[in-house]
Amino acid sequence: MIDHAEKAAEFIRDEPRTDWHDESLWFIRHKRDKASQDVPEWEQLRELASGIKDNVLSELDHYLEQFEANALQNGVQVHWATDAAEHNRIVHSILKKHGVSRMVKSKSMLTEECHLNDFLAEQGIEVVDTDLGERIIQLREEPPSHIVLPAIHLKKEEIGALFHEKLQTREGATDPGYLTEAARGHLRQKFVEAQAALTGVNFAIAETGGVVVCTNEGNADMGVHLAPVQIHCMGIEKIIPKAEHLGVFIRLLARSATGQPSTIYTAHHHRPRPGAEMHIVIVDNGRSAQLGRSDFRNSLKCIRCGACMNTCPIYRRSGGHSYGYTIPGPIGSILTPGIDLKAYSDLPFASTLCGSCSDVCPVKINIHEQLFRWRQIIAQEGYLPSGKKRALAWFGKIMARPAWFRFTGKVARLALRILPRPFLYNRFNEWGKARELPEAPRESFQEWYKKNRR
């Protein structure tokens, strides 16, 4: 069970660091605002993107088959994986066939979700993440804390220390330029040695059978261009019907993610290079189950821009690791209950339902409404903590009985007025740990009204 509140409390204990984390992400959210304001038709674009994805989800089977047929025609080898284990096995079998012992991999949240690195390491294959942020967390042996900025939780001093230990950079060096250059040199070697390259997929075009990969570092392209075997792993929801739809998503993606007009590299892969092999692995891993849940299916529209994380006031103050899943933040909190309701039953409650995520989302996923819906299911399935359950049942009874309501209110106000502080402020009072309780008036509004207006 993930205890989000506990992990968040731990994170916040270092308040200056929490402020730094919050500010870093707010800065990106702010850049996103400015970039989106430069596009007068921004809201129409969101509407359009959402509509295209609605269509994709309602005809996903058809588009997937079309995509496969076109990819096969292009000479690509297409594989289907029901779950993470099958995905990992498929990738491994491709690598084994070619005797690959070293592979480079650009950012792919899907392979994080499937824990591919660990699996391949057990098979004796070295996987090097070539996205700088991913490489950093790989060297630290920890999961990403953000889907676009995997190492956003780390300060440059920490990265300097890590690089000093692992890449022999100068002790105490924190200059981002210097550290990036060192990582580049280190990665270059890995690119040259790699016998295979794996990338994630941002968009898979049914009409052409090609995949599109968006990065800022060009690392995905470098890997693919150098290695004799290229593998692209994608969830079934990455499909878009036509190449002409790409423009809608490309305009939204980078602006929403980082406030850039587009990512630096937008690579289109359609067919293997002469003498090389190209594979696409299409993965379900719980997605079709989510597709079957009418209240939650449109969570599959997600284009993984990370904007809902950057805007989320809770994510910014609790960090990605507090969610205990590869995809944290608001979108993670509506995806995870579909994966394991009990284990992640805390996450839909890690929200004030402020709705900022839904309004920032470039494909208009009604994230906060889905959080509300998951809460209902979690309560129905009996996964609320028992104390909370009792309190709610009690509250429900009172609220349907006006006389009880008035009586309880009166007693509570009286207690607030006459009880000495230690009775009111103790370890059972979560409200009162850092906040005063409201001052209790002698008269409720109802009592006042009776006296003054009747």
Binding site: I314, R317, T352, K388, G396, A400, G409, W431, S444
Partner: protein, 246 residues
């Protein structure tokens, strides 16, 4: 036009002055307003905690009390949003539909129904407006910083009718205060941190009074302000519009 006044449960118990201000303001504007006895709660705290089902008796109770009014007015964007949006799970009788359609936040009623143009109120202070999320993003009472749509802000429009008021610009104009109902006690660390950060934003702009359309946000912020021994005050929108003085 018959108007039914609903006073949310926590306002009834802890902030009667907000209920009084709402009532007096409506009376001053010659609204025939009635406050039906026996009201309790709109059911939102239950539903937001996953217990929609347990909230149903409260929904029926609310509809029974209010369906014969032309408008149901309340000084809370959050409760208004709840009635309009979440009373969809009980049978949609004519009464329920009527109630859902005609339940209005105070600011909506003043501007959209009464067409209010001016007010006789003075509040010569530096005021920071806290945009309560359910009013802002649920009822769309104003533009939010996420969407690129221009819509006038109802609450600001009303505050601008008040004499002497100085509304400040915040660096984060519509970030959540961290109250969130049971979130406030379920995730107390983040809830308080969010509140502290909001207060700091207002404080850095020299705000003397924080106002909002929802008292629940203000209850949370006030709890932190008082614990920290700060001088800032909180006042509900209705109080300022009704001419409250510090």
């Amino acid at each position: 036009m018959k108007v039914g006044l609903f006073i949310p449960c926590y306002i009834d118990q802890f902030y009667p002055q907000v209920g009084i201000a709402t009532l007096e303001l409506l009376e001053k504007l010659d609204v025939q307003v009635e406050f039906p006895a026996n009201q309790t709660c709109c059911g939102q705290p239950l539903a937001n905690s996953g217990s929609e089902q347990e909230a149903e008796p409260a929904y029926h109770h609310f509809v029974d009390l209010f369906h014969h009014f032309d408008h149901i007015v309340m000084p809370s964007g959050s409760c208004t949003y709840h009635v309009r949006k979440h009373y969809d799970r009980i049978e949609q009788t004519a009464e329920v539909q009527h109630v859902r359609k005609n339940t209005l936040d105070l600011s909506e009623f003043l501007l959209d129904v009464l067409n209010l143009q001016s007010l006789n109120a003075r509040f010569p202070y530096k005021v920071g407006l806290h945009q309560s999320c359910h009013g802002l993003r649920g009822l769309r009472l104003g533009p939010d910083s996420e969407q690129n749509l221009s819509r006038p802000s109802k609450i600001q429009t009303l505050l601008n009718m008040v004499d002497g008021i100085e509304l400040v610009d915040l660096s984060r104009p519509d970030e959540c205060c961290g109250f969130g109902g049971t979130f406030a006690v379920g995730e107390p660390a983040i809830s308080v941190k969010m509140g502290k950060d909001r207060i700091a934003d207002h404080e850095s702009k020299g705000v003397e009074v924080i106002t909002a359309g929802d008292m629940s946000c203000l209850m949370h912020l006030e709890g932190i302000i008082r614990r920290q021994g700060k001088q800032m005050k909180v006042k509900h929108l209705a109080e300022i519009l009704n001419g409250v003085q510090l």
